[in-house]
Symmetry: C2
Subunit: 338 residues, 2 copies
């Protein structure tokens, strides 16, 4: 089992997961773009027919009646074979004063988004993207009931430069017993804004950005997609639900379909405009046992990895961006479905 | 002039520096290791004879009497030609309520650490490392007097994966008018620890790590080098002065020489043990106009870029490390000078 350690000076948490050092990689060096990949890859643990290469499945979406862990699925959720945290075991905090550490209890799951090895949210149809989101949501709701967990992270790494080790389309879920520092800070700032202004800072962002117009990428019935005013990276893109809600899950079924539409349009524009860029997509959801309904607003951040954070960024937390979000938004709008 | 923007939701600052998009790169693709580089590179703006390729020098260390901006220097400080912030202009905050931004006033300088293109702190002698630190310190003291500045960052990017665009050995100094989020947080936690325990958290770290022993890499008369208990990356290494001080600069001259010795030994061990790894080295110094003498403890963090931060790390701020710092320390100790 891994171990979660806390830095005394910053209260930052780190998961020590030595097993993960043995993860497989598609290829040493560069990862081919999805277009150069075959439809099925014989050694890919996420391809149909290779179900035995993963731990037994936790959930799957099947058209027909096939048994678990056999082909015929459209979406499949399995435990990560090189899990950073493990669902087995008791949550225990040791040495609470110094060398503080917590047992590596939690969840680490993989949502295999398609049986097709070289698919991507760009080439999938909206039904498939919706199915993947719905199944991920079910896992989320199931994990939510685990009282040992404090936060559930939901993210997608695309491309080697974004830390992805396998190219078969997948999303990951990590449930942690600890409260993530970044989530704490974001919620604290949102609360402070609400206390000062009686207004959700994200709702206000939508208003201001809608008015300004120049950074808007897409506006649908339910979602607002834009390049944030203080974008850290070129083409950093946020997807916000227009209706205030602190959590996506559980959401109304048509909300999930609306999200699938906005998500696919956005990822397609990035794909077509930038040529399958490496990116991290991260859901910013409310923590499990903190009620922050009035002031927290769930959203998705897409962070293309087109530049490298260096010493200045890592040391100070100030980012240097070489592209104005106004320019990035104008460029992406040209790649939006009509 | 660039523009410094603030994200309303997180209060994070971003420097919009579109000029930097035009920076030169040594080579498209991979950067050769220092050993494969020539001693002098005809197109390198930091090589002797090419002084005209940089803006006029701000300071230099010369053995003889040569005029500024001509060869004969051992260390040379110049403004960054693709500066993120500019020393010219007035500091002004605009739209303090929404779309908050500040004029990109500040400093961005380069300390060229050696006239030799393929030198590195590993191959330089201790005198040369000391000279580079002393000259950087002089620039630091000069910038400190600029009342527009709030913080001075001092960092070294080594290798392409660490965001370095030129391989000629150099360190950078960036002076910002804004207070860096990370610095604020670190100092706030240090203050809280001091208020709770009447003890500097970094002094206590040295005591506890000295006692534990397993993560110590090097202990000299004046410096303590170790792999932190909650290391974020394999081979993350911190250098702490044994004597409590909130700022390195201005430091006693023999303190700087002691630092040069510890620094060179540490970088040499990383170089010999890991084969010239990409890394970021960052000085964590006190801010200019915050007195935090009792509870802040200056130090250096070296962050080898041997793994990639992915969606989980960027979203939550929790890191996953695949190598225990105890193992990293044992490995590095074998490469320490006897």
């Amino acid at each position: 089992m891994s171990e979660i350690r806390q830095d005394q000076a910053t209260k930052r948490w780190v998961i020590m997961a030595t097993e993960r050092a043995k993860r497989p990689r598609d290829l040493a060096g560069a990862q081919p773009s999805v277009e150069e990949q075959p439809e099925r890859s014989p050694n890919c643990p996420f391809c149909p027919g290779n179900e035995k290469m993963t731990p037994p499945e936790l959930a799957a979406y099947r058209d027909g009646d096939g048994p678990p862990n056999s082909p015929g699925w459209q979406v499949r959720v399995v435990p990560n074979r090189f899990a950073a945290l493990s669902p087995e075991g008791e949550l225990a905090i040791r040495d609470p004063y110094w060398f503080t550490n917590v047992t590596g209890v939690g969840a680490h799951e993989v949502v295999i988004e398609s049986p097709i090895h070289n698919a991507s949210p760009v080439t999938m149809d909206v039904e498939q993207v919706t199915r993947a989101l719905v199944l991920a949501g079910q896992r989320f709701e199931s994990l939510q009931r685990d009282r040992r967990l404090n936060y559930i992270a939901f993210f997608r790494n695309n491309g080697l430069a974004a830390g992805s080790s396998l190219s078969h389309p997948h999303t990951q879920i990590i449930g942690t017993p600890i409260s993530p520092t970044n989530v704490r800070l974001e919620i604290e700032e949102a609360r402070r804004h609400y206390d000062d202004r009686m207004h959700c800072v994200y709702c206000e962002t939508i208003e201001k950005e809608h008015e300004a117009g120049v950074r808007v990428v897409l506006e649908t019935e339910a979602f607002f997609v834009f390049e944030p005013f203080a974008s850290r990276w070129p083409f950093e893109t946020w997807i916000l639900p227009k209706q205030h809600a602190s959590a996506l899950i559980p959401g109304a079924p048509d909300q999930v379909r609306h999200l699938a539409v906005a998500l696919q349009a956005t990822l397609s524009a990035l794909y077509r405009g930038l040529g399958d860029p490496a990116y991290n997509l991260v859901l910013h959801e409310a923590p499990l046992r903190d009620s922050c309904e009035d002031y927290w607003h769930w959203h998705i951040e897409i962070l293309p990895r087109l530049s490298t954070a260096a010493g200045f960024e890592l040391g100070t937390g100030i980012w240097i961006n070489t592209m104005l979000p106004e320019e990035a938004a104008a460029y992406l709008r040209d790649f939006m479905p009509a």
